[in-house]
């Protein structure tokens, strides 16, 4: 039912945004790619440093390690909370909804600050523990890797909730009923029926969370205290503190390639989930 004469209105409506982004995003990105092979001199030297330079390589390794831990924890936590959000009573759903969506809309900075307020030397946790006499001096709970992980998990849980929720909503209730009718326990139904049925959602959520976690900057920079630097912070440092624009550009290009590969994987899984499971 496509109207061939409608090409001009379609162009007029879509062109402003496409042209705007072509000029402000696509072209400048090519510029960044150009920096990566021309600064400080022409060649692929910067890319060799990504694997060859021990500092850069160690930052990449640390980033992958932290992101893997964060992804596993965030998806597991999101699974627990989504399960009750989708299947709970009306009151449970309402409470969980607030827990998920209020933090989601609050800025990264405020949330990172919240972790400082909770865990720093004179913050809530240490003050109360000392007042109760459970500890003698403050425990060093922030400006380290575990606090970075906690902060990142906090940010990423809501992103895992949405794919998980749509997978859980698609589960056919009759299958669960059949399992119950045949005498399966609650745990058995969950483990042998519900979880396998929602596996496509888990895989989708895992990939989304991992992709998002790779580029994290604000949370690790504040909660890591400059010690456990991740890739994005390295880019910032190479741009503004010890300028090495070529390296910053090369890392950016590498990140885009990694993310593109993961997204390609994700879209394949999405297609599998669509053709394979349910509806």
């Amino acid at each position: 039912m496509r109207n061939r004469t409608a090409i001009w209105p379609a162009l007029a409506l879509t062109a402003p945004l496409v042209l705007f982004l072509a000029c402000t995003y696509a072209l400048p990105f090519l510029g960044v790619a150009l920096w990566s092979v021309t600064l400080p001199e022409l060649g692929t030297g910067q890319y060799q440093r990504l694997v060859g330079d021990p500092l850069v390589a160690s930052v990449f390794v640390r980033t992958f390690r932290i992101c893997l831990i964060v992804t596993v924890v965030a998806v597991a936590a999101a699974y627990a909370i989504t399960y009750v959000w989708v299947r709970g009573s009306r009151l449970q759903r309402r409470v969980i909804e607030i827990c998920i969506f209020v933090p989601f809309w609050i800025s990264l900075l405020t949330r990172a600050f919240g972790w400082l307020a909770l865990l720093s030397n004179r913050g809530l946790f240490n003050s109360w523990m000392q007042a109760l006499g459970l500890i003698d001096g403050p425990l060093a709970l922030v400006r380290n890797e575990p606090s970075v992980i906690a902060g990142m998990v906090h940010v990423l849980i809501p992103f895992a909730v949405l794919p998980l929720a749509s997978a859980m909503r698609a589960v056919d209730e009759r299958v669960l009923l059949a399992a119950r009718g045949m005498g399966a326990s609650r745990l058995r139904i969950f483990w042998s029926v519900f979880l396998p049925l929602t596996l496509p959602g888990v895989i989708g959520a895992t990939l989304i969370v991992f992709v998002f976690s790779l580029g994290f900057f604000v949370t690790p920079a504040i909660l890591g205290g400059g010690r456990s630097i991740m890739v994005a912070e390295l880019v910032y440092l190479r741009m503004f503190q010890s300028p090495d624009w070529g390296l910053g550009a090369a890392i950016s290009v590498a990140l885009v390639i990694i993310v593109a590969a993961l997204m390609a994987l994700l879209s394949r899984f999405a297609r599998l989930a669509l053709t394979g499971g349910g509806k």
């Binding site: 945004l17 399960y83 709970g88 969506f101 913050g123 849980i157």
Partner: protein
């Protein structure tokens, strides 16, 4: 068919995760009333010093004003561009639709630090022609915020359009309505709520944008998050606790209002 509700173990786990999500936000509240000039729990007496600072200190005030200005501009332009684009895709289904949508969603998918580099490249380039549009300028920040928020607006408007009954548009077309008439008299009135939500979302996103803003500002265009960032890295200023409480309360109110309005079409999703 009655569904089996989650058992006590599942509920306990979910509540633990919920507490984990809310705890850092709640911890900010007592800290904001400390009389001390360092980040600490108030011991004995409470004080509003840090709230006063937000009004008395011109830095905070000008940052709030700048963020509001940038947020409003970004919201208007971003939503307009996104709505026009989404209408073009929905009404006319041009060839390569999915490719076009994929392209405009890029800033949402690409890691923010890469977008920050890209916009840094753009704005330092523009600075060579004019300081007013380049690095560390209000227009530069607005332009960057439009790039970063427009994908979210596109998604929201496309979602709103997906719920419009195509037959009403076909009927209008059959009756000889022009493209402009179909847009303004038929489609836009049907997606008003979606467009308004998109505008609100864009404002909030711009108001709290830091990842990119950090790369493209230095001393002049100091938005609120940029100012917060400066007070967060090393010696934490408790005024940040006060502004955080204000932001948390505002966000929660907006969300509650939105929830109240959204309750009506609930029967559709359940």
């Amino acid at each position: 068919m009655k569904i089996q509700r989650p058992g006590p173990l599942a509920v306990a786990l979910a509540l633990a995760v919920g507490a984990f999500l809310l705890l850092p936000l709640l911890a900010v509240v007592p800290i904001s009333f400390t009389p001390s000039r360092m980040l600490s729990m108030p011991q004995g007496s409470l004080s509003l010093t840090h709230y006063r600072q937000l009004i008395d200190n011109p830095d905070w005030l000008s940052a709030i004003l700048l963020s509001t200005k940038v947020g409003l501009l970004t919201s208007a332009i971003s939503t307009a561009l996104a709505t026009s684009f989404a209408l073009g895709i929905w009404m006319l289904q041009p060839r390569f639709s999915s490719l076009l949508v994929g392209f405009v969603l890029l800033p949402m998918i690409v890691p923010p630090v890469v977008s920050a580099m890209t916009l840094y490249f753009l704005l330092t380039g523009l600075s060579r022609f004019s300081q007013a549009v380049g690095f560390d300028s209000v227009i530069g920040v607005t332009m960057a915020h439009i790039v970063m928020t427009v994908p979210f607006a596109v998604v929201m408007v496309l979602v709103a359009l997906a719920q419009v009954d195509r037959r009403i548009d076909l009927a209008a077309r059959g009756l000889g309505a022009t493209v402009a008439q179909r847009i303004f008299h038929v489609i836009l009135p049907n997606i008003g709520f979606g467009v308004a939500t998109a505008a609100l979302l864009v404002f909030v996103l711009s108001w709290e944008e830091i990842g990119v803003t950090l790369f493209i500002t230095s001393v002049d265009a100091i938005t609120l998050p940029r100012l917060m960032w400066m007070g967060l890295r090393d010696n934490v200023d408790p005024a940040i606790a006060a502004i955080s409480v204000v932001l948390i309360v505002m966000t929660t109110l907006v969300l509650l209002i939105r929830m109240a309005f959204q309750r009506r079409p609930e029967f559709e999703e359940e």
